[in-house]
C-alpha cells in the first residue's frame, strides 16, 4: 500500500513558477508538497536562463582576450598568444553556478517547510497523483493543485534531437566548442547561443524560415544585432527552411529563399524553433481541465476549468518567461491563502541577451495603430551617452526608445538595444507599472554617467527638449 499524502497545496514542477508558488504557500502557512522529477530550479536555473548567461559571460571574456591577442592588441592590452578555451572546464564552472542556485532553491523550500517529493507525478484525477520515488510509490492528494510543468524545446520531425542535432539544453553541456555550428531558428534562444559560440570561436550559420531575425521585435530594434552578426561573420539565411540532415549527417540540408537546395556543413546543429508547453506524460488528460490550443486554459487568476486546480507559467501561454511564471506562482499562492489577486501586469518585460542586448517593456510601435491613438516616439542613441562610450557600448547602434500617447503623455512602451541594457528593464517596467508620464521620467534625476541617462534623454526628446542631441 503506497503512502498517501494529503496536503493543502500540491505543486507539480519545481521550476520558477512552481518553487515560487510553493515558497509563498509555505510563507502563508499553507501545508505544501512539491513534486519535481529533475533538479529543483526548472528550465531557467538548470538548463536555460542561468547556464546560458554563464556561457555568454565566458564567451564575452574569451572574445575580449581574442581581440587583445590580435595584432596591435586592444586598448593597450596585448596578449602574446591567443586564448584557449577548455570547454569542459567552462561547463564545469557553469555547473557550479547552477549548483549554487539549485542549492539555494532547495534551502528556501526547506525553510518554507515545503515537502519536496522527487519523482514523476502522474495524475489519476484532478486532485490526485501518484509518484514513483526512489523510496517507493506515493499517492498525493491536494486540496489545491498548482500545475507548473513548464515547457520543452520543440523538435522538428525531420530533424530529431540526438547525435549532432541538439536543443538548447544539450548546447549548454557540449564537450567542446563546435567548429561549425548551424542554428535553426533566429529567435532569442538561437541567437543568444549562436552569438556566444561565435565569440568562443565557432563558425556560425543561422537559418530562419521567416524574413527577419527576432521576429517578435521590429526591424529598428533588431538592426544592431543584425549588424553585429554581419560584422562578426555570422551568416544569416532568412526565408530559408531546414529540410533535414545530409546523408552523412555532417551537414544541414536547407531550402534557401530562392528555392535552391543547399548544404551547410555542421559539427552541431542547434534547433531553437520555439518551445511547447509540457502537457504530456503526467496525466493531464485525466484531470478534465479545458485547453486553450496547446496550452492549459486559465483565467486572469490562473484558475483552470477545474475548481481549485491552478496552472501557471509556460504551461498556460506566451510569453514563456521565468518572471511571468514566478509572478503567477506568487499570485496563486496568495489567492489560495484567501487574498484577492489578479494577473494584470502593465507589462511583461522581455530581454534578449544577444550582442547587443535588447530589452522591451510595454507596447512596440507595431502594437499601436495611429488611427486609434496618436503616439509620440522618441529615440536616444547610446552614441551620445558618455557611459556607453566609456565601455565600448556606444558604437553598436544601440539606443533607448520611448513610445507615449500624444494626448496625455502616458508612456506606452519602452525599448532599448545596446550593451548591458538588460539591467534597465526594471526601470522601464516600473515606469509602466506606475503609470508614468513622459514628464515623470523627465523629472527623475538619473546618475551621470550611466546608461540610464539615455532613457532620461529619450523622455526629454519625446517632450521636444533633449539636451545632448
Amino acid at each position: 500500500m503506497p503512502e498517501h499524502i494529503r496536503t493543502k497545496v500540491l505543486v507539480i514542477g519545481g521550476g520558477p513558477g512552481g518553487y515560487v508558488a510553493a515558497i509563498r504557500c509555505g510563507q502563508l502557512g499553507l501545508e505544501t508538497t512539491l513534486v519535481e522529477a529533475d533538479r529543483l530550479g526548472g528550465t531557467c536555473l538548470i538548463r536555460g536562463c542561468i547556464p546560458s548567461k554563464a556561457m555568454i559571460h565566458v564567451a564575452g571574456h574569451f572574445e575580449t582576450m581574442t581581440k587583445a591577442a590580435a595584432k596591435g592588441g586592444k586598448h593597450g592590452i596585448s596578449l602574446s598568444a591567443p586564448p584557449k578555451v577548455d570547454f569542459a572546464e567552462t561547463v564545469k564552472w557553469k555547473e557550479t553556478v547552477v549548483d549554487k542556485l539549485n542549492g539555494g532553491v532547495t534551502a528556501l523550500l526547506k525553510r518554507a517547510k515545503v515537502r519536496v517529493i522527487a519523482g514523476w507525478a502522474k495524475f489519476q484525477d484532478g486532485k490526485t497523483c501518484s509518484v514513483e520515488t526512489p523510496e517507493g510509490a506515493v499517492t498525493i492528494t491536494g486540496e489545491h493543485v498548482i500545475l507548473a510543468t513548464g515547457s520543452l524545446p520543440v523538435e522538428l520531425p525531420f530533424l530529431k534531437f540526438g547525435g549532432n542535432v541538439v536543443s538548447s539544453t544539450e548546447a549548454l553541456t557540449l564537450a567542446e566548442v563546435p567548429k561549425k555550428l548551424v542554428v535553426v531558428g533566429a529567435g532569442y534562444i538561437g541567437l543568444e547561443l549562436g552569438i556566444a559560440f561565435r565569440k568562443l570561436g565557432s563558425e556560425v550559420t543561422v537559418v530562419e524560415a521567416l524574413d527577419r531575425i527576432l521576429p517578435l521585435y521590429d526591424a529598428q530594434l533588431t538592426a544592431p544585432v543584425a549588424k553585429w552578426l554581419e560584422k562578426n561573420g555570422v551568416t544569416v539565411h532568412l526565408g530559408a527552411k531546414a529540410k533535414g540532415l545530409s546523408k552523412d549527417g555532417n551537414a544541414l540540408v536547407v531550402e534557401t529563399k530562392d528555392g535552391k537546395s543547399a548544404e551547410f556543413p555542421a559539427g552541431k546543429i542547434l534547433v531553437t524553433v520555439g518551445r511547447k508547453p509540457n502537457t504530456e506524460g503526467w496525466g493531464l488528460e485525466n484531470m478534465a481541465v479545458d485547453m486553450d490550443g496547446r496550452f492549459v486554459k486559465v483565467d486572469d487568476r490562473c484558475r483552470t476549468s477545474m475548481r481549485d486546480v491552478w496552472a501557471i507559467g509556460d504551461l498556460v501561454g506566451e510569453p514563456m518567461l521565468e518572471h511571468k511564471a514566478a509572478t503567477q506562482g506568487e499570485m496563486v499562492a496568495e489567492i489560495i491563502a484567501g487574498r484577492k489577486h489578479r494577473f494584470h501586469p502593465a507589462s511583461i518585460p522581455a530581454v534578449c541577451f544577444t550582442e547587443p542586448e535588447i530589452v522591451s517593456a510595454g507596447l512596440l510601435p507595431q502594437d499601436v495603430s495611429n488611427e486609434t491613438q496618436e503616439v509620440i516616439t522618441a529615440v536616444f542613441p547610446f552614441s551620445a551617452n558618455g557611459r556607453a562610450l566609456s565601455m565600448e557600448a556606444g558604437d553598436d547602434g544601440g539606443f533607448v526608445r520611448i513610445l507615449a500617447a500624444k494626448a496625455d503623455h502616458r508612456i506606452l512602451g519602452i525599448q532599448a538595444v545596446g550593451a548591458h541594457v538588460s539591467e534597465l528593464s526594471g526601470e522601464f517596467s516600473h515606469a509602466l507599472e506606475m503609470g508614468a508620464l513622459l514628464e515623470d521620467v523627465a523629472g527623475t534625476i538619473h546618475v551621470h554617467p550611466t546608461l540610464g541617462e539615455a532613457y532620461h534623454e529619450a523622455a526629454l526628446r519625446a517632450l521636444g527638449h533633449a539636451i545632448h542631441i
Binding site: K340, H341, D408, H409, G435, L437
Partner: protein, 445 residues
C-alpha cells in the same frame, strides 16, 4: 441682445408642478427654435420641452429630480432683439436650484452674463440676489463630481501596482474609478474617494462565492420611480386593503383559447388570458357598481362608472406604468387583446399619451408567465379594486370523487374595505370565477 425667459408651461391638466427628468442643453449652448431642451414629467407622462426661440442658453434652473412649478422660469436665453424679460424684473418663482450657489448651472450664469454690454440685461443680473429663494429640498445634495479624465471603454486604467492590488482586494474594478492624477492616473486617494461615494463592493462575480461585500449604492429616487413610490405610498396610506383569493378551473377556457388561437385569422392577435378576464369583469361589474368606482375620500364621494376602463399594469424598462384600455365593455376579446397590446406597447416605448395613462376605473395586474401562486396587489388609487390572475398550473383536483388533472389558476384581488364589503367582493369574484369556468357564458346574454 435681450434675455428670453422660458417658463414651464402647463403641461397637463391641473398639474401644479412637473419634475425635471433630463436636460438636453447646457449653459452656453446655442439652440435653435424647437430644439429639444428638457424632459419633464407629470403624472406618468414624460413631456419633451422644446425651445420657443433661438438663442444662447445662459442659465438653467433645476436639476434632474427637482420639481419645477408651472410658470417658473426654467431656462433663460440670450436672444437677438429685446427678449421677454423686463429690465429689473425678478424672475418668477425661484426654483430649487437657485439658492445653492454651488450648482453648476449657477456659476456660469453670472460669469457669462456679467460682461453683457446691454445695460438692461445687466440690471437684471444685479437684481437677481434679491429674489427670495425657496427652501432647499433635503435631497438636493449632489456635490460636484471630481474632475477626471474620462476613460474610454478600451482604455486601460492607469494605476500603480499597489493601487491595483488594493482595488483587487476590495473587489473594485478600476475601469470605473475616476482618476485625478495626470492622464487620469488613479491614486490611493482616488480609490478612497470612490469607496466613500459608495462605489465599492462591485465584487467580481468570479471572486470567491463567500467573500464578504461592503459598500452601499445610493440611488436617487427620481422620475418614474418617485412617481411609483408616491403613488404606492398614497394608496397604502389611504386605502385599507384586503386581499381575496380564489381558485379558478381554467381547463375549459384554456381549451377554447387554444382553439381560437389555432383557428384565428391572420390579422387577429394571439389571445392570452387577459381579454377573457376583461370580458368576465365587464359582464359581472354592472351588478357591482361599487367595485367599478373611484372613491374621492377628500370629498367623501364614490363615483360609480358605467364605462369600464381597465388599467393594465405594465412593466417597462423604467418601472411600472398603468396604461388604460378604454371602454372594455364595448370590445370583444380580439379587440381587447389588440388594445392591450397597443397601450402596453406605447407605455413600454415611452410613447403613451396622457389620455392613455389615465382614467382607469379598475385595474388588472398580471405577472404574465411568472404568475406566482398568490399576490396581494396594491389598489391603483382612487380606484377601489384590483384583480391579479396568477399562474395557470396543472393540479390534481377532486371531481366527482375522482382525482383528475385540471388547469387551475388562482385569482388574487384587493379591495378598498371602506367602500367594498367583504361579502360583496367575495360574491363578485365568485361570479367572475363562474364565468371563466364556463367560458360560453362570457358570450351569452
Amino acid at each position: 441682445m435681450g434675455i428670453y425667459q422660458f417658463k414651464l408651461p402647463d403641461v397637463g391638466e391641473g398639474t401644479a408642478e412637473a419634475e425635471i427628468v433630463a436636460w438636453h442643453v447646457k449653459v452656453g449652448d446655442v439652440v435653435a427654435e424647437d430644439q429639444n431642451l428638457v424632459d419633464v414629467m407629470t403624472d406618468k407622462a414624460t413631456v419633451e420641452m422644446t425651445a420657443p426661440v433661438s438663442g444662447k442658453v445662459v442659465s438653467l434652473h433645476g436639476e434632474p429630480g427637482d420639481m419645477a412649478p408651472v410658470g417658473s422660469v426654467i431656462v433663460e436665453f440670450e436672444v437677438e432683439g429685446a427678449g421677454n424679460a423686463k429690465p429689473g424684473a425678478a424672475p418668477v418663482a425661484a426654483t430649487p436650484a437657485e439658492q445653492t450657489k454651488k450648482t453648476p448651472p449657477e456659476a456660469p450664469l453670472v460669469a457669462s452674463r456679467a460682461p453683457l454690454p446691454d445695460g438692461a440685461a445687466g440690471k437684471e443680473v444685479e437684481s437677481k440676489p434679491a429674489t427670495k429663494p425657496a427652501p432647499a429640498p433635503a435631497r438636493h445634495m449632489t456635490n460636484t463630481a471630481p474632475a477626471f479624465a474620462t476613460r474610454d471603454a478600451g482604455t486601460k486604467p492607469l494605476a500603480s501596482p499597489a493601487v491595483r492590488q488594493r482595488a483587487d482586494e476590495l473587489g473594485i474594478k478600476l475601469q470605473f474609478v475616476p482618476g485625478t492624477g495626470p492622464a487620469g492616473r488613479i491614486s490611493h486617494a482616488d480609490l478612497d474617494a470612490y469607496i466613500a461615494t459608495g462605489g465599492g463592493g462591485v465584487s467580481s462575480a468570479k471572486s470567491s462565492a463567500y467573500a464578504p461585500r461592503d459598500g452601499v449604492e445610493d440611488v436617487k429616487v427620481i422620475g418614474l420611480r418617485r412617481r411609483i413610490a408616491e403613488k404606492m405610498q398614497e394608496s397604502k396610506r389611504r386605502i385599507p386593503h384586503y386581499a381575496y383569493v380564489d381558485e379558478v378551473d381554467m381547463t375549459e377556457l384554456e381549451a377554447l383559447r387554444a382553439h381560437l388561437n389555432a383557428t384565428k385569422k391572420a390579422d387577429q392577435p394571439k389571445l392570452n388570458v387577459l381579454p377573457f378576464l376583461m370580458r368576465a369583469l365587464v359582464r359581472v361589474l354592472p351588478a357591482y357598481p361599487q367595485i367599478n368606482a373611484h372613491f374621492d375620500d377628500d370629498a367623501g364621494v364614490v363615483h360609480r362608472y358605467s364605462a369600464v376602463h381597465i388599467g393594465i399594469a405594465t412593466q417597462t424598462a423604467n418601472g411600472l406604468i398603468v396604461p388604460v384600455v378604454k371602454h372594455a365593455e364595448a370590445r370583444d376579446v380580439w379587440d381587447s387583446a389588440l388594445e392591450v397590446a397597443r397601450v402596453a406597447g406605447a407605455a413600454r416605448d415611452n410613447k403613451a399619451s396622457k389620455d392613455e395613462l389615465t382614467g382607469s376605473t379598475i385595474t388588472i395586474t398580471s405577472l404574465g408567465v411568472l404568475g406566482g401562486l398568490v399576490t396581494t396587489p396594491v389598489i391603483n388609487h382612487p380606484e377601489v379594486a384590483i384583480i391579479g390572475p396568477n399562474a395557470i398550473l396543472e393540479r390534481p383536483v377532486v371531481r366527482d370523487g375522482q382525482i383528475v388533472v385540471r388547469k387551475m389558476m388562482n385569482l388574487s384581488s384587493s379591495f378598498d374595505h371602506r367602500v367594498v364589503d367583504g361579502y360583496d367582493a367575495a360574491e363578485f369574484i365568485q361570479r367572475v370565477k363562474a364565468m371563466l369556468e364556463h367560458p360560453a357564458t362570457l358570450f351569452m346574454d
